[in-house]
């Protein structure tokens, strides 16, 4: 199998306010079976980079291609799991309603959800082991369960690329373990990009790590020996505290 790049980012820069660049000269390639972890300090531009990949923001300089097209054009192939805190838990919608929102854009105004759609929803909810809770309101679920609802909502779109923004924040240890198992399964059919400042766990699961603090440095975890991984691990934690993660990556 030839491994084609599905995301190609070249010399990309972005600033919310002039002269205060949050992303500087980013270069990145993501391949179709990659499991990429993006780590970096808060304010380092992780979410901004995701927003550019999702076509919510346009880069000031440089280019980005997703599946060889502009990000907005390929959204049908992309699944997105947003940050935890953004969602209003009082909203009166059920788990099943939420999962079906994943395919709402494929429906025309007068088209009801049909049996096929419900089957897809059932499949997605069974995959994340939540079918029994389909009628619950979102606020009635635990943190880990909610996270899986958002994953099901992304999976019902049958994505070729799954993007998760800080997914492990505010879920307990047991749920987190199940969560990584789930992602490993998903990675069999789809590329996965996961953003996290929780660097402790991420190294065990991903095959590529990108360190982002305005600039981005990327390398493969497979190429590293255990010893090196140990080093990176420690250094990274320390250096992230200093806001200079790139120094570590230059060594590799």
């Amino acid at each position: 199998m030839i491994n084609k790049p599905i995301i190609t980012i070249k010399n990309l820069s972005f600033a919310y306010q002039k002269e205060n660049k949050i992303l500087k000269n980013i270069n990145l390639e993501v391949f179709e079976n990659d499991f990429l972890g993006i780590i970096g300090p808060n304010g380092g531009g992780k979410t901004t980079l995701l927003k550019i990949v999702l076509g919510l923001l346009k880069p000031d300089k440089g280019s980005i291609l997703v599946f060889n097209k502009k990000p907005k054009k390929v959204r049908d192939f992309v699944g997105y799991v947003p940050q935890f805190l953004k969602i209003d838990l009082d909203c009166p919608v059920s788990v099943l309603d939420i999962v079906l929102m994943g395919i709402l854009s494929k429906k025309s105004i007068f088209q009801k959800y049909n049996k096929e759609d419900l089957k897809l929803a059932k499949q997605a909810l069974k995959f994340v082991d939540l079918w029994k809770l389909k009628d619950k309101q979102i606020g009635e679920l635990s943190g880990g369960q909610r996270q899986r609802v958002y994953i099901a909502r992304a999976l019902i779109r049958d994505p070729k690329l799954l993007i998760l923004d800080e997914p492990t924040a505010s879920i307990d240890e047991k749920s987190e373990k199940e969560f990584w198992e789930l992602l490993k399964d998903i990675n069999k059919n789809s590329a996965v990009i996961i953003v996290s400042h929780d660097i402790g766990v991420i190294f065990k699961h991903v095959n590529k790590v990108a360190c982002l603090n305005k600039r981005l440095y990327c390398h493969s975890t497979n190429e590293m020996t255990n010893e090196m991984l140990d080093k990176t691990y420690k250094c990274d934690i320390e250096l992230l505290g200093h806001g200079l993660p790139h120094r570590v990556l230059k060594k590799h």
């Binding site: 997105y80 929102m101 854009s105």
Partner: protein, 268 residues
């Protein structure tokens, strides 16, 4: 109960029910999307249209409809495109509409006797035209929500996700605000522009304390709307008080009751 045989009283009850249907359907979306303040701004700026109608001599509710829809679109654009200044900008639109209305009324010769009724509502002055207008607006609101229900809940629950799945979130948001504007027009007859916001949100907010899906909240808020308006109208008759404030008293009292019950349930 002799009062029930009077035509004006029957009209009052009828428009109360028609308004309850409209706010029972739209209110839950306003409450869930947390745009009560924004809706208050739409309501107040519709006063500009009432003033204009006085000045040019046509039905003030038509003027209110035009102005409230226009300000809904304006406020919608401001709230999304000038995110940073949203709060102050909405406040500005709020006062601007009122100011425009007052200028027009000042320019209109003669004394505007029933102006007060548009500010605070007077359900006992309901005309046949008002009823006809309310029915028409209700038909528009019911049909729209029936068709767009799933899109409204999608942008209310998670607008960003809807956006990245290529749903036209901004036009849908503006459309929802226009429906809010039309609902407000029906409510103006009953409680007036100043008190509208309570009747728009309290039936839905009450219903939301013990229901967890739009499909259940909507019928319950229609029921609460009917309860608030009807009780208010009877109180207004027996206590010889204006109808708008009576309706608001009932609504606030019931909502406060639900809030306290909800609080107690959490403490248990």
């Amino acid at each position: 109960m002799e009062i029930l045989t009077y035509n004006f009283f029957q009209n009052a009850l009828l428009i109360g029910i028609l308004a309850s249907i409209a706010c029972g359907i739209i209110g839950p979306f306003v409450v869930a999307k947390r745009i009560s303040f924004l809706s208050g701004s739409i309501a107040h700026s519709s006063f500009g249209g009432i003033g204009l109608a006085y000045f040019l001599g046509f039905n003030p509710l038509i003027g209110a409809a035009i102005f409230s829809v226009m300000s809904a679109l304006g406020i919608g654009v401001v709230s999304k495109k000038f995110k940073k200044n949203e709060d102050a900008a909405i406040g500005a639109m709020w006062s601007l509409g009122m100011a425009i209305g007052l200028v027009f009324i000042y320019l209109t010769p003669g004394y505007s006797a029933d102006l007060f009724s548009y500010l605070f509502g007077n359900i006992l002055m309901t005309s046949f035209t008002d009823l006809f207008l309310a029915v028409t607006l209700n038909i528009i609101i019911i049909t729209s929500v029936f068709i767009f229900y799933r899109w409204f809940s999608a942008i209310i629950f998670d607008e960003e996700f809807a956006e990245v799945t290529n749903i036209a979130t901004f036009p849908i948001y503006l459309f929802l605000l226009c429906l809010v504007a039309l609902t407000i027009v029906i409510l103006i007859r009953i409680v007036g522009v100043i008190l509208v916001i309570a009747l728009l949100t309290l039936p839905a907010a009450s219903a939301q304390t013990f229901n967890k899906s739009f499909k259940k909240i909507i019928p319950w808020s229609i029921f609460f709307g009917c309860l608030f308006t009807t009780t208010g109208i009877f109180l207004s008759y027996y206590l010889n008080m204006p109808s708008g404030p009576m309706i608001i008293f009932v609504a606030c009292l019931v909502y406060a009751g639900f809030l306290i019950c909800d609080r107690l349930r959490l403490l248990q």
